[in-house]
Structure formats: C-alpha cells, structure tokens
C-alpha cells in the first residue's frame, strides 16, 4: 500500500506516524533540524520559510508543552498561528471533526497540527484532504490516542544522536507505562528504523502490551536487570488519566519498583543519559535527584523539540 504520508515524489506530505517511514526520511528530518537549533542564538529568532502561511493548532486534547513548542516553531518560521483548544468533554465524532476541518480550510489553512484522544484522527483528516484534492494542506500528528506522537519520537532521536552520535552501537531502555503510551510506540519505531541494535522495555506486566515483543524489543519486568549497561534511559509518564480499572496498586508501589532512582540508574552505563517526554511525575516514575541530576537531558529535549518541529514544518511546506 502507498504510504499516505508520502507524496508521489516520495517527499513527506504529512507526518502522521513514524511507522513505515524509511530511515532516509528520519535521518533527513534530524539533519534538517540541526541548522534550526542555531536560530535560537540570533538577535532575530525568525526565518521567512512559512511567511504568509496559516498553521492551525487543533488540540482536541489538552497539552501545554507540545502545543507551545509547535506554536513557537511555527512562529519562528514566520507563519501565522491560530490555536484552537477544543475541549475533551464532547468526544468528537468523525463527521464533526471533518466539518471543523472543512471550515478551517475555508479560512485558508495551510497546515494542521492535530492532537486528538482518538487514535487515527489525524489520518482521517489527511485522507479527507486527499479525497477532496487539497494536496497543498499538510497534517502533523501531535499525538493521537494511544497510537503515535511522531514529533516526540523524532525529538527524542535528535537528543540521542546529539549526545551519543551513532545509533548502531546503543542499548536503549524504555521504562514505565508502555501500554498507554503513544510516545513509546513512536520511540520504538524510530529506534529500530535508525538501527539501534537493542531496545528494551521495562515495566510491570500490567503496563506492557502482551505482543510488544513483535516490535523487536526485549521485555524486562525487573528494572535493575533491564537497566544493566544501557546507554539511554527513556522514562515514560505514568498515564493515570488513561487507566481504566486497577492496573496498579498505587503510585507509591510503582515508584518502589519502577521509579528511576540514583540506585537503579547506577546499573546503567556511567555515561548514560536520562530522558523524559514530560510532564514529569516526580516521586512516581522518576526521583527528583535523577530528574535534576547530571545524567538528565530532559530540558535539552524541550529545546531540541522546537528545532525538530521547525524542520518537519519546513519539509512539509516545501513538499
């Protein structure tokens, strides 16, 4: 099947998921992001690439960091940014979502940045645009349900490459609530596509999907064993708002077994980096001493995220 994210020339038309994107495209995004990091050092932190374009931030689910960094990225590219915060209360139905999109297209939208609680909502919008011949409008998935959060996965890869240079010698562990995490799914696809030889997932059985080993990762229920000699520790947020039923005894219990403490981190390589997509639950999945410690690269992740989102938006707009 044709990848709906690529146009007929093989260029990126939408960014919906990292799944199925070839290594060349992922590498091109990371390469393109590098010169954008330098823009933050300038007197005028603005580039003219998206001048005259309208970017609509369409957030059906709350988010501060992701929406803000997308907004900064678009503004640094000189786009006009319109933020729509559509509450979580009314579970959006297919029809009303596409009606919203049609209305915004009538306002000359050039790009949609979409976050939605329903997996596949950005796909639906991209399909709708293709079916109605509006190929000049681009869609970026900013997180859909439990499915994907591709720009988070990409900024994580940028961060790893920044500190570790070469993907092909790394052992990477993803720790925590893999079950409810769209971030984990995007991270696993990106890591395996970029050639990381060993990806581990660590967490309690109730929070690890039963078929996760099909993605080519090894599963550890014991955190110390899982962290042994890893180069990169990618923590996940415990997504209490997505949990239904009793998957966990309590956050305290989770911290005892799966919270990243200095003691557990000491099993990783001495130069290991610690990442977290935010927002952090201190004392639940990560100890403050680690979150603020010398291994943590959590704030650089946020800064790199702006450059990576600028790169993605520029590549889409130029496709």
């Amino acid at each position: 099947m044709l990848n709906p994210q690529l146009n007929k020339d093989g260029a990126l038309q939408h960014l919906l998921t990292i799944d199925g994107l070839p290594r060349e495209i992922l590498s091109a995004i990371l390469d393109t992001a590098t010169p954008f990091t330098e823009v933050a050092e300038r007197e005028v932190k603005k580039l003219p690439l998206l001048r005259g374009k309208s970017v609509f931030n369409l957030f059906f689910e709350n988010s501060t960091r992701t929406r803000t960094t997308f907004e900064i990225a678009a503004k640094r590219l000189s786009a006009d940014v319109i933020n729509l915060n559509i509450g979580t209360s009314s579970a959006a139905k297919g029809e009303s979502l596409l009606d919203t999109v049609d209305n915004l297209c009538a306002m000359q939208a050039d790009m949609f940045v979409v976050r939605h609680a329903v997996s596949g909502a950005p796909f639906l919008i991209a399909q709708h645009l293709a079916a109605t011949g509006r190929d000049h409008i681009h869609v970026i998935n900013a997180g859909d349900g439990r499915h994907a959060h591709p720009t988070q996965g990409l900024l994580d890869m940028y961060t790893i490459r920044h500190y570790k240079k070469d993907f092909t010698r790394l052992v990477v562990a993803i720790v925590g609530d893999v079950m409810h995490s769209r971030v984990a799914r995007s991270q696993i696809s990106a890591l395996t596509t970029l050639g990381v030889p060993e990806v581990r997932v660590i967490g309690p059985k109730t929070l690890i999907p039963a078929d996760v080993d099909r993605l080519g990762v090894s599963v550890f229920n014991d955190m110390r064993a899982g962290l042994k000699d890893v180069d990169v520790v990618m923590m996940l947020r415990l997504q209490s708002e997505r949990m239904q039923g009793a998957l966990l005894p309590s956050p305290q219990e989770f911290f005892k077994y799966y919270g990243l403490t200095a003691d557990k981190l000491s099993y990783a390589r001495p130069d290991a980096i610690v990442m977290h997509p935010g927002p952090m639950n201190r004392g639940v999945e990560i100890d403050s001493a680690v979150a603020d410690g010398r291994h943590a690269v959590i704030l650089p992740q946020v800064t790199f995220g702006i450059a990576v989102r600028m790169a993605v938006m520029s590549m889409l707009a130029g496709a």
Binding site: A11, A28, P35, V44
Partner: protein, 164 residues
C-alpha cells in the same frame, strides 16, 4: 573555453581586497564554494575576526517552488554583527538572488556598518540590482550552463563548467 585558475584568482582577489579593509572587517562565506574562497582570503589577509559562514537555504526566494535542499549546513557568525563592516564572499555571482538572501540573513544577526561583496567570478545574468565591489574575473557564460567551484582531495580549488 579555458577557465581561469581558481587558486590564482583567489590570490589576486585577496590583493585587491587588502587596501579596502577595516581592522574590524569580517568575511562571511556562502556555503559551499563561497566558504572555500573566504578561507583563502581570510588566510591571505591575516584577518583577526574569525570567519563567518552562511547557508542561505532558509532565506531563498524559491523555497515555495523547490522546498529545502538536502545537506543543509548551519550558519555560523562567530562575531558581533552590530556596527561591523562585513564582506560577503561567494564563488560565482549569477542572478544575485543568493546575495539578497545572504543580506537578509545577516540583518537577522544585527545591523552591520556596511556590507560589501567579493566574488571569484562574475558570470553576468543578474536579476537583481546587485554589484560586487571586488571581482576576481568577469566571464560571459551562456544561461544553460553552470559554473561551479570544486575542491579536490588535496584541497585545491578549480572551476568547472557543466550543463545545467
């Protein structure tokens, strides 16, 4: 048509720049060929201000037609631009659009005292009112051809004419 020797042109260009330079002058090369020429000039002129370099891809006027090119370089301006005399250095001057993009980019770092332009070869064909202050050599090249500066493994610069 025999093309001039690029290394000799660099040396001659450096000689013509020397009398016109201010102690604070900074050279800024445009990726990739312009940076090579700027490196030659910087060494020959013994300038104190470190060399700057620009990748003007983010400022090009054909972005909406052709998108971003692969292999972007980072721009690097390792000095204060405010009130400084700047010389943009490029290998081949053609339409002038690259120079316009470079000037726009420089102003995003600050307000320079002045900007001059030094080019190894002026091949004609201007589409904007841009004129270099220093030119290594003027050549008449027909529109269907690309004049390129290349650097071989030994680091020697040479001009080459190819079909566009």
């Amino acid at each position: 048509m025999p093309l001039p020797d690029a290394e000799r042109l660099c040396a001659a260009l450096a000689d013509s720049l020397r009398p016109g330079l201010h102690p604070n002058t900074a050279l800024v090369g445009i990726h990739t060929g312009g940076v090579w020429v700027a490196e030659r000039l910087h060494a020959a002129l013994g300038l104190k201000t470190p060399l700057g370099s620009l990748d003007v891809s983010f400022y090009r006027d054909d972005f909406s037609r052709s998108g971003l090119h692969a292999q972007l370089k980072s721009s690097d301006m390792p000095f204060e631009v405010e009130d400084r005399p700047i010389v943009i250095v490029d290998d081949v001057l053609y339409t002038g659009r690259t120079i316009r993009a470079a000037m726009n980019e420089i102003f995003d770092y600050g307000r320079p005292a002045r900007i001059d332009l030094a080019v190894l070869v002026d091949r004609g064909g201007r589409e904007l009112p841009i004129c270099p202050r220093w030119t290594g050599q003027t050549l008449q090249i027909e529109p269907g051809k690309n004049l390129q500066l290349e650097r071989n493994e030994a680091g020697v610069l040479a001009l080459r004419l190819i079909d566009a």
